[in-house]
């Protein structure tokens, strides 16, 4: 009896050894939809298909430039209203390099709406801006959580620094509730540039599919201005082996260009004894070793509701958890975000801006 209980407990513990496995598998299905005579695939899963009904296709972009492969069946041919949300304000919808469709009024700068006539067959569409090189300024933030109702303050402060876009290291919500996501979408309408993000542990208080269906995959990479941005899902205080392998491949592919790595949990807490970090320091050290061998130039983390500048394996790293969540006391920082200037051949320059 006792042996059975011990074995049962052991099996239960072993069964949850990979809490992020299903989420990693689900990530591979993000950005694909099939309905109303259209089969849509977003290349490299850099976005989510939010709506696909007769005559309407709505995409949430998870990167500054995305590519859509749209297979139109005979029944799907005709006029379509294509909406791309979270797009750069100067993004354009193109096919074969030429602008596509008739622009329709959009509710805000980060939404692109086109009236498009799609014939049957395959269409490869792109959404992105014209600029592909040169210096780049971005903002970085994390840990909004209970600060959702007032995060527009943070967005307004970010807007004053004129970033091309914002990157976020997760914990957009407190509990992953549907009304929180709805509020986040409303708050994002106050941000004049797009926000590209991964998830945090607080998004996992509810089904992760809620996140993935709205904002795209939790682990992905895009390149813009020859800078690689690699986001990794560490929502369970660690990377699933599927994510770790994918991240290793993405980072290796970006080894010859400027490379930023972003995830929610810092692998190792800059205050080591606190351990607000990966649940296994050995797994964390293996990841840091991968970051070092891949030549990552800058690592950005959240989770700890403070600001910290440190290095691991010689890589500059920052914790910036000042998006509005209940702050760590006595650290003298409060709500804040990072402003990062990137230029070819130059190390990233990172500054911190207080909001309050």
């Amino acid at each position: 009896m006792r042996v059975a209980a011990v074995l049962l407990a052991g099996a239960a513990l072993a069964a949850c050894a990979r809490p992020g496995e299903q989420r990693a598998l689900d990530d591979a299905l993000v950005g694909v939809a099939d309905d109303a005579g259209l089969h849509v695939v977003i290349t490299d899963r850099l976005g989510a298909v939010r709506t696909l009904t007769q005559g309407r296709l709505e995409i949430w972009a998870a990167a500054p430039a995305i590519e859509l492969t749209v297979d139109v069946a005979t029944g799907g041919a005709g006029r379509w209203q294509i909406t791309v949300a979270n797009a750069l304000p100067d993004a354009e919808l193109r096919e074969g390099g030429a602008p596509l469709g008739v622009p329709l009024p959009a509710p805000r700068p980060t939404v692109l709406v086109r009236d498009v006539d799609l014939s049957s067959g395959r269409h490869v569409l792109t959404v992105g801006p014209a600029d592909v090189a040169g210096p780049l300024r971005i903002a970085a933030m994390a840990d909004i959580q209970t600060g959702l109702p007032t995060v527009d303050d943070v967005f307004a402060a970010i807007a004053t620094t004129n970033p091309r876009f914002v990157v976020c290291m997760g914990d957009l919500t407190e509990r992953g509730e549907l009304d929180e996501y709805a509020l986040l979408d409303r708050q994002l309408t106050t941000l004049p540039v797009p926000l590209y993000t991964t998830l945090g542990n607080h998004e996992l208080w509810a089904e992760a599919a809620r996140y993935q269906g709205r904002y795209g995959p939790a682990s992905f990479q895009f390149t813009f201005h020859d800078v690689a941005f690699t986001f990794a899902d560490s929502g369970d205080a660690g990377l699933d082996p599927i994510v770790e392998e994918a991240v290793g491949e993405m980072l290796a592919a970006a080894a010859d260009r400027q490379s930023l790595f972003l995830t929610h949990f810092p692998p190792v807490d800059p205050v080591g004894i606190r351990d607000g970090a990966f649940r296994s320091r050995r797994d964390a050290q293996r990841l840091i070793g991968t970051l070092a061998t891949s030549g990552v130039d800058l690592a950005l983390y959240g989770h700890i509701h403070t600001y910290a500048e440190f290095e691991h394996a010689g890589i500059p790293a920052f914790v910036s958890g000042g998006g509005g969540a209940r702050p760590e006391r006595w650290d003298g920082i409060g709500r804040h975000f990072l402003v990062i200037d990137l230029a070819p051949g130059q190390p990233p320059i990172v500054g911190v801006r207080r909001v309050d």
Binding site: A17, G272, I273, Q285, T293, A313, R326
Partner: protein, 366 residues
Amino acid sequence: MALAAALVASPAAAAPPADPPFADPPVTASPPRPAEAAPADPPADPPAVTPGRRAAAIALAAIPGLAVPGLGARVVGERRAARRLLAMRAVGLGMMVVGGVPLLVTYGSAKLVVPGVHLSVAGSGLFLVGWWADVYAAAGGGGGAPRRRAPIELSADATWIDDAFHGGRALIGVGGRGHRGRWTLAARVAGAHDGALAQARVDAAARVWRPDARASGTGVDVRAAIDAIRDDDDRVTTVTGELAARGRLHLADLDRALAGSFVELDAGLGLQAVAYRAGDADLAGVLISRFAGGVFLPCARGEVAVFYDHRRDTLAGGLPAGRAAGFFGSVGATAEVAITPTWIATAAVEFGSARLATLGVRRGLR
């Protein structure tokens, strides 16, 4: 500190050390009788308990006893044990509150981590082991005593490590341990069959406090250790220095009805150096905070314990604990059983991000 707090309720705590050099308890050590430990509190004969009453006591101790300290002991008539368990769990709860609430309020302020986590973990240990000890007392206890260890012991063991990233790996280890007076020195080396994972550890300990000369198993050690791990699969080498205090309280020092059970608390700090295949080496702090509860086996043949270890830098790492992931450490159990007067079988399991199972033998040399 936690142990000392718990000992406030212990009559043995008031007794001055009679014999400075610590000597291990004799093989025939028996639980101290209250008459020896606390003349002012004479023992009563153990109350006769019917099987039905004992079963009810166990059930009450196990379920409502989580919230009502000492319920099981009270039902079987061990009122003094019940009072002592109430005090022990109250101290534990107080430490959890004193340590944990400021951490919650400050959202993990770096300034409060060391006292906050140590108090919280130690308090949890006293609270949970006090709960379990109530079940133990309700069941009639076992009355085991600590086993006397030989001055020199040699050991061999095999550890199976399973984690999501490497699958299964086996480590074969050999070690030795010697003690003289209050001093103990131990060393162990272990390696995987393919050489990809190797570990070496040296431990030194000095017993700095014990309540009296009875060698009941209660005492406090100061421990220092160096632990080095080379993991070629992970392309990482770590060297960790540790300094910690370990206190063990034989609960017989609280009441006869608890004889054979113990609580153990560790608190300390460490510093870890990490070398990667590329990039600069790193230094990181380590918080050592652990509790265990267990029983001595009858006839002083060994002991069995379960533990919680807050560290996440070990081979086990921390549990994937759902919403608490990234905060919890590992849990596990250890056992050592004397098969003959000189041969001891050992076993351990640990569940964290990785799962470890160890089987071994020790040979005592006298």
